[in-house]
C-alpha cells in the first residue's frame, strides 16, 4: 500500500479540555509530532503511560529532510514496533566512499562484521519515518494527538506545568506533571520560557536537491571534494526510496540563498553531475547554513527538551534526528517510572546529564567534520587540501579525511546510574554502553529478547532465580555462533543488568542478589550517592 505521507492532512478536533472550567490535568504532554515527539509518545505509551501529543501543524514533514537513520535508531524503532516497516521501505547501506577531484581516495564500511539484525544505516525520507511512527502511535489507545494545538505560554510550579494552547477555536489551558518539548530547532517553548540554545555557526551555504531519476549509482554514501563537475566545493550523494537521490552541493558563504533555490540555477548543477542528457525531476530543493549549538541544560524543572529544541549539529554525520530519537528513548522510561511513582523525580536529572554529554559528543564530531569540509581559515584549507593530496598514496592520511563521522550511539561512561565494574571485562559493553545485538539460534535476535523493563541478561546453561528483575538467559546452545558471548565478553555465570533503553548499567562475573538490587536502585536514582566511609 502506497501512502503519500506528505499530502496527509489531519483534522483539528475540539477536545472536552477546551470547555473545562479549569486547566485539565494530564500526566505528560509531548509537544511536537516529529520523529522525536512521536518516538517519545510511543515509548511512554508502551510503558503504560497515558500521553497527550500536541502539534501546531496538521501535516507531517514536507520535504525529505532527515534521511539517514542509523543502526541504533532502527533498533529503537524495533522496540517501538515499527522498525521492520522502516527497513523494508528504506535503502540499506553500509559503505561510504570519498573522492578528491575525479579520484577515489578512501572508503569506509560502517558495519564490517556480520551477525547484526540492522544495517549501519538506512536512507528514508523523514515523511516516511514520521508516517510509520504516526501509524504506530495511532494504534496505541493511550496516545491522544491534537493537531493545530500550538503552545504559546508555559509556566510551572512545584506541582505542575501549565500550558496555554492556541487552536483554531481560541485558547485553552492544560496542566501536566511533565512537558516534553520536542518542538524543533526554533522551539517556541524554549522561546516562551526565555531560554536559549547557543554555539557556533559556520560561514557556508549548502544546496540540497532531491531529484527523482533512474540511476545506477550503488546504495552507498558518495562524497566528493573539489569534483570536476562542481570545482572548489564538495558534493554529497545519497540514495533514497522511490528513485529519489539526495544531492548536497556546497555553495560557499557568498552564494545567494534565494537565487540558488531557483530551478534554473539548480538544474545545471545537477546536470553537471549526472551528464547533460540525464532525465530527472526536482523533488525538493532547500538551501541551508548550519550551526552547532545546544541549550545549557535539557531539563528545566518539569519541562524536558529533546531533539533539535535542545541541540543542533551540522548534517554531515546524520547526528540530528538520530540523536533526537535517542534523547526520546533515554527520557521515556525515566518519565514512565517517575510518573508511576517507582522512581524519584531526581531520576530525570540523569536525562539531562546523559543526553547533554551525548550532545557534546555529537557536536564535537560534527564540528570536526565541518572544520574539514568548510575550512575556517587559510591554514585549515591548506591542511585539508594536503590531507586529500596525501590520501592518494599515504594510508595514514586517509584516516584524517573527514567527510562526516557518522552517528553512533553514545556510551554514558560517567552516568550516575552506572554501577562501576568490580570484575574484569574486555570489549565494548561497559556500563553506560548501548547493548549490542547478536543472532540467536532459531532466527531470533538478542535485542528482541530484552524487555521494556530492566532485564538481567545472564549467560549460562540455566537461568538464575532472581526477585523483581526479569531474566533473559542465553545458553551456549542458543548462542551457537558464539557472537553474543564474544560481544559481551561472557563466560558461564556472567550477568548484565540492562536498562529499559537497552543500555548496560551493571555487570558481574557471578550474580549476587544484593548487588543486583543495589544496581537497580542506583539505576533508578532510588538511593542517594553513597557517602565515602
Amino acid at each position: 500500500m502506497h501512502v503519500d505521507y506528505q499530502s496527509l492532512r489531519f483534522d483539528y478536533r475540539r477536545s472536552p479540555d477546551q470547555s473545562a472550567g479549569s486547566a485539565a490535568r494530564h500526566p505528560v504532554v509531548v509537544v511536537g509530532a516529529g520523529p522525536v515527539g512521536l518516538a517519545a509518545a510511543i515509548d511512554l505509551a508502551q510503558a503504560g503511560q497515558r500521553v497527550l501529543l500536541l502539534d501546531d501543524d496538521r501535516s507531517l514533514s514536507s520535504g525529505s529532510r532527515a534521511i539517514c537513520f542509523a543502526k541504533r535508531t532502527l533498533e529503537i524503532f524495533d522496540r517501538l514496533g515499527c522498525g521492520e516497516a522502516m527497513v523494508e521501505k528504506g535503502v540499506t547501506w553500509n559503505l561510504g566512499r570519498v573522492f578528491h577531484r575525479a579520484d577515489p581516495v578512501y572508503s569506509f564500511d560502517l558495519l564490517p562484521e556480520g551477525g547484526h539484525r540492522r544495517p549501519a544505516f538506512i536512507n528514508l525520507q523523514q515523511y516516511y519515518v514520521e508516517g510509520f511512527l504516526l501509524e504506530r502511535a495511532q494504534a496505541l489507545p493511550n496516545i491522544e494527538i491534537r493537531w493545530q494545538n500550538k503552545v504559546t505560554a508555559v509556566s510551572q510550579s512545584a506541582e505542575a506545568v501549565t500550558l496555554t494552547v492556541e487552536t483554531p477555536e481560541g485558547e485553552y489551558r492544560l496542566s501536566a506533571d511533565y512537558l516534553v518539548a520536542a518542538d524543533g530547532a526554533r522551539s517556541p517553548i524554549r522561546r516562551a520560557m526565555g531560554l536559549e540554545s547557543k554555539g557556533r555557526s559556520f560561514r557556508d551555504r549548502f544546496l540540497i536537491a532531491d531529484v527523482r531519476m533512474k540511476a545506477d549509482f550503488p546504495a552507498e554514501r558518495w562524497f566528493w571534494f573539489d569534483p570536476p563537475f562542481h570545482p572548489n566545493q564538495s558534493v554529497l550523494l545519497h540514495s533514497q526510496p522511490d528513485g529519489v537521490w539526495r544531492i548536497d552541493f556546497q555553495l560557499g558563504w557568498d552564494a545567494d540563498p534565494v537565487a540558488e533555490r531557483a530551478p534554473e540555477r539548480v538544474i545545471p548543477r545537477v546536470r553537471a553531475l549526472l551528464g547533460h542528457d540525464a532525465e530527472f525531476e526536482l523533488e525538493w530543493v532547500s538551501i541551508y547554513t548550519f550551526s552547532c549549538l545546544r541549550m545549557e541544560r535539557f531539563r528545566h524543572g518539569r519541562v524536558l527538551f529533546a531533539g533539535d529544541s535542545a541541540h543542533g549539529v551540522s548534517p554531515f554525520g546524520a547526528r540530528g534526528a538520530n540523536s533526537g530519537v535517542q534523547d526520546a528513548e533515554n527520557l521515556a522510561w525515566k518519565l514512565a517510572l517517575v510518573l508511576r511513582g517507582e522512581a524519584p523525580d531526581a531520576l530525570l536529572d540523569s536525562y539531562d546529564s546523559e543526553r547533554v554529554a551525548a550532545a557534546d559528543e555529537n557536536i564535537l564530531n560534527s564540528t570536526r567534520s565541518t572544520d574539514f569540509i568548510t575550512p575556517k581559515n587559510e591554514a585549515s584549507r591548506a591542511f585539508r587540501d594536503a590531507v586529500l593530496d596525501l590520501a592518494k598514496d599515504c594510508a595514514f592520511a586517509r584516516r584524517l579525511v573527514n567527510s562526516g563521522r557518522l552517528s553512533l550511539p553514545s556510551t554514558y561512561r560517567n552516568s550516575p546510574l552506572n554501577t562501576p565494574d568490580e570484575d574484569a571485562f574486555e570489549g565494548a559493553m561497559l556500563p553506560g554502553a548501548p547493548a549490542l545485538d547478536a543472532p540467536l539460534e532459531g532466527g531470533g535476535w538478542l535485542l528482541d529478547r530484552l524487555g521494556r523493563d530492566f532485564t538481567l541478561l545472564h549467560f549460562g546453561e540455566a537461568a538464575p532465580v532472581v526477585d523483581g528483575v526479569r531474566v533473559v538467559n542465553v545458553t551456549p546452545g542458543e548462542d551457537a555462533q558464539g557472537l553474543a558471548a564474544r560481544r559481551y565478553d561472557a563466560r558461564p555465570g556472567t550477568a548484565y543488568l540492562i536498562r529499559p533503553d537497552q543500555h548496560v548499567c551493571a555487570r558481574w562475573r557471578r550474580l549476587n542478589p544484593a548487588k543486583l538490587r543495589a544496581a537497580v536502585d542506583r539505576a533508578t536514582a532510588r538511593v542517594p550517592e553513597m557517602a565515602a566511609c
Binding site: 547557543k198 557556533r200 559556520f202 549549538l293 575556517k376 581559515n377 591542511f383 587540501d385 594536503a386 593530496d389
Partner: protein, 75 residues
C-alpha cells in the same frame, strides 16, 4: 618528550634542502608543501604528547592578530 637538542647530523645540508624545496614556488604553493610536510612528519612521530609540545612551542611568542570565520550562534 619533545627533543630540542641537536638531532640532525648535517644541519646545514638539512636547512639548505628545506629552503630549496620552496625556491621556485609561490607563497600558496609553499603553504601546500609545508602542510604536507607537517602532516608527513607528524605521522612519522606519532606520539601525541610530543606533537602537542611541538605545536605549543611553535606558537610561542606569537601574539594572536587574526581570527577564523566561525560566528556565534544563538537560537
Amino acid at each position: 618528550m619533545l627533543n630540542t637538542k641537536p638531532n640532525i647530523a648535517s644541519p646545514d645540508d638539512f636547512y639548505e634542502a628545506l629552503i630549496a624545496l620552496h625556491g621556485d614556488l609561490t607563497p600558496e604553493q609553499s603553504r601546500a608543501v609545508d602542510a604536507r610536510l607537517i602532516l608527513l612528519l607528524s605521522n612519522h612521530i606519532g606520539d601525541a604528547a610530543v606533537l602537542r609540545q611541538a605545536m605549543a612551542r611553535a606558537r610561542q611568542g606569537i601574539e594572536p592578530a587574526g581570527h577564523d570565520t566561525i560566528l556565534a550562534a544563538r537560537a
